[in-house]
Amino acid sequence: MSTPTVHSVTQPALTGDLPLPEVSAPIVRIRPPRTWEALDLSGLWRFRDLLLALAVRDIKLRYRQTLLGILWVVLQPLLGAGIFAFVFGRVARLDSGGEPYVLFAYAGLLAWNLFSGVVLKASGSLVANAPLVAKVFFPRLLLPFSGVVSTLLDFVIALAVGGILLVVCGHAPGVSVLLAPFWLVLLLLLATGVGLICGALAVAYRDVIHILPVTLQFLLYGSPVGYTIAVIPPGLPRLLYKLNPLAPLIEGFRGALLGHGEVGIRSAIYACVVAVAVFVAGLFFFRRMERQFADVI
């Protein structure tokens, strides 16, 4: 079997009243799938408008027929931070490292909500759009990716409010904030990778959709969102705790926003490797599974 799958030829001139699409007509060879295939990046690029359209649909639908609309993007983490501040700060009297507990929890929740939002959106996107998958051709990766984009938009708004809060409370972020994008990208890679794997699995096994929220709930308390790593007893427990790649990512992001709380270089490298590995694994796993989506979904 020959290997090339897609290349372009120019379209022959045609007479007719309607203008033809100005794109050159590609030759597409449809053939049985191989086990592992390269990623179709050109296909993704051609459908980039769809990525945006799906993300916009997501955002529009989420707040349609709500009274408060987009305010929910801010209210959700604020309320969550309030609860954390009460439970961990007031009742359990944990140490936030000198910050107002609400700020501390809000920063943690920003990172956490981004992670869990991306995982949930990306993993549910295929099943939620089952008719599309069964009846229309487009790069399947766009569905989880559009979930990522729409979650990111929510995150940006919540982040802006977080910034205002910081300034109002007199904790204007310092130079350390420049590190925030680094942690964010890693967080996104990790979350997207997990979302891709879970999404591809959920096509055949809907169990995933039921397991995920519970797992995320567990992970929320197993990650330093409402407390710092410092409350974990040093030694073996802390070492085990640090196996959770989310721990350095969330701590790192919060540290970058609030201006203190460093992450060890080893933890940072570990999180880096895991995030990239999970993302790449997710991409290829998804690619492998996607050919059968339409038959199984």
Partner: protein, 407 residues
């Protein structure tokens, strides 16, 4: 290979693996426990089903190819493979040009979004760029005739408006290869005609290639120059549309049994009809006839006791249950026994699918009646050197055609 070849499919096959129901794991837990218990057993219990097998064909630029076949023949699977929604198991296909496929009207429409938002979303889903949609927007809206409701969520649309808008978006996709699956079974008659016209325009004026699956023979005939007949996953005929349609009708009649057993009456009736046999005038059993061709229906019935003034009745009904024609036998006083009444039927129907109604009366009282049984189809083509074509009820078939005179 000529240069205007647009689609070339070579030995395409698609096999579905189906595990027998009791062994098919549908949850992770089942999968895991099953694999642990019997790591090698699963594969052997799978049965294979060839949805398509060894399908080869070529389509040239500007051609309008009809794909016909009975339900489950593999038409939709073929379209899904051509649209790259599902991969083939064997063989390969070369596509030259942008494919726009419309396997279902309105996939991707979201009820909560407005008409305007849905046009953009659906256009993007079908592969249009935002710029293309901007350019076509007014045409789409005009075609769908929904200007006034553009900013209303489509959940408030009537189903007709919904479908019109959905088709309009797809119709303005302007692909090099347009793949359309049975979408015209929606909307009112005027809109169906408009859709057909649009597809005709796409094919004949813009030089695009169209693949069209439909059960509406009239639509296939008017739109397509060539057709593929698919049966049990194989292409059994490929050629000019008339020949392929004739073969399809013959195939269908083989599927409709010429003998229909009739249901038994509920309570102890003095008589019952047993069966209806349909045949041509030559006596050969079949259930597909050409326009204007007479045929024969034999109603078999049975009397359990002597009855006076017995009349057997045979009628045709449309698929919606509407009565079309009824014939009655001459009355006779009969002793118990088995009887048959032969009806010579020469009906002014064309392009019709009908079912039967059968009744028996004695002394003007109904003693047996059943309806909606059996099936028979009458094509829209009549015999002759220049075939007659017609459709509808009350079509009078004459071999003599009137001359056209100057008025």
């Amino acid at each position: 290979m000529s240069s205007d070849l647009v689609i070339s499919a070579r030995h395409v096959g698609k096999t579905f693996r189906m595990a027998s129901a009791q062994h098919r794991p549908t949850t992770l837990a089942e999968l895991v426990s099953q694999t642990l218990r019997q790591p090698f057993a699963r594969r052997q219990r799978e049965t294979e089903f060839d949805a398509l097998d060894d399908v080869s064909f070529e389509v040239h630029r500007g051609e309008v190819l009809g794909i016909i076949g009975r339900n489950g023949a593999g038409k939709s699977t073929l379209l899904k493979i051509l649209s790259q929604i599902t991969p083939p198991t064997r063989g390969e296909i070369d596509l030259h040009g942008r494919v726009g496929s419309l396997l279902e009207v309105g996939t991707g429409f979201h009820p909560e979004l407005s008409g305007r938002e849905n046009i953009y979303l659906n256009g993007a889903i079908l592969g249009m760029s935002r710029r293309e949609i901007d350019r076509e927007f007014d045409n789409i809206v005009a075609f769908a005739e929904t200007e006034r409701f553009l900013d209303l969520p489509v959940k408030r649309y009537s189903s007709g408006m919904y479908v019109r808008l959905a088709f309009a978006v797809a119709a303005h996709l302007r692909p090099d290869i347009l793949i359309v699956d049975e979408v015209l079974a929606v909307g009112d008659l005027a809109f169906q005609r408009k859709c057909l016209g649009k597809m005709d325009e796409v094919a004949h004026r813009s030089g695009a290639t169209v693949l069209f699956v439909s059960h509406q023979m009239t639509a296939v005939r008017s739109l397509c120059s060539r057709a593929l007949l698919i049966e049990c996953g194989r292409v059994i005929k490929d050629g000019a549309v008339d020949g392929v349609l004739a073969r399809y009708l013959a195939l269908n009649s083989a599927a409709q049994p010429a003998t229909t057993a009739l249901p038994e009456p509920v309570e102890q009736a003095p008589a019952r009809a047993i069966a209806v046999h349909i045949s041509g005038i030559d006596g050969q059993a079949r259930t597909t006839f050409q326009l204007g061709e007479p045929w024969r229906a034999r109603v078999e019935f049975e009397l359990h006791r002597p009855l006076p003034h017995v009349i057997a009745g045979f009628g045709l009904q449309g698929l919606d249950g509407s009565p079309l024609v009824t014939w009655w036998s001459a009355p006779r006083d009969l002793p118990p026994g088995r009887y048959a009444a032969d009806f010579e039927c020469d009906v002014p129907l064309a392009a019709a699918e009908v079912t039967f109604a059968v009744g028996l009366t004695s002394d003007e009282k109904s003693i047996y009646y059943t309806e909606g049984v059996g099936a028979l189809s009458i094509s829209e083509i009549g015999p002759g050197p220049q075939p007659h074509r017609a459709s509808g009820c009350g079509v009078l078939f004459t071999t003599e055609r009137p001359e056209i005179k100057a008025a």
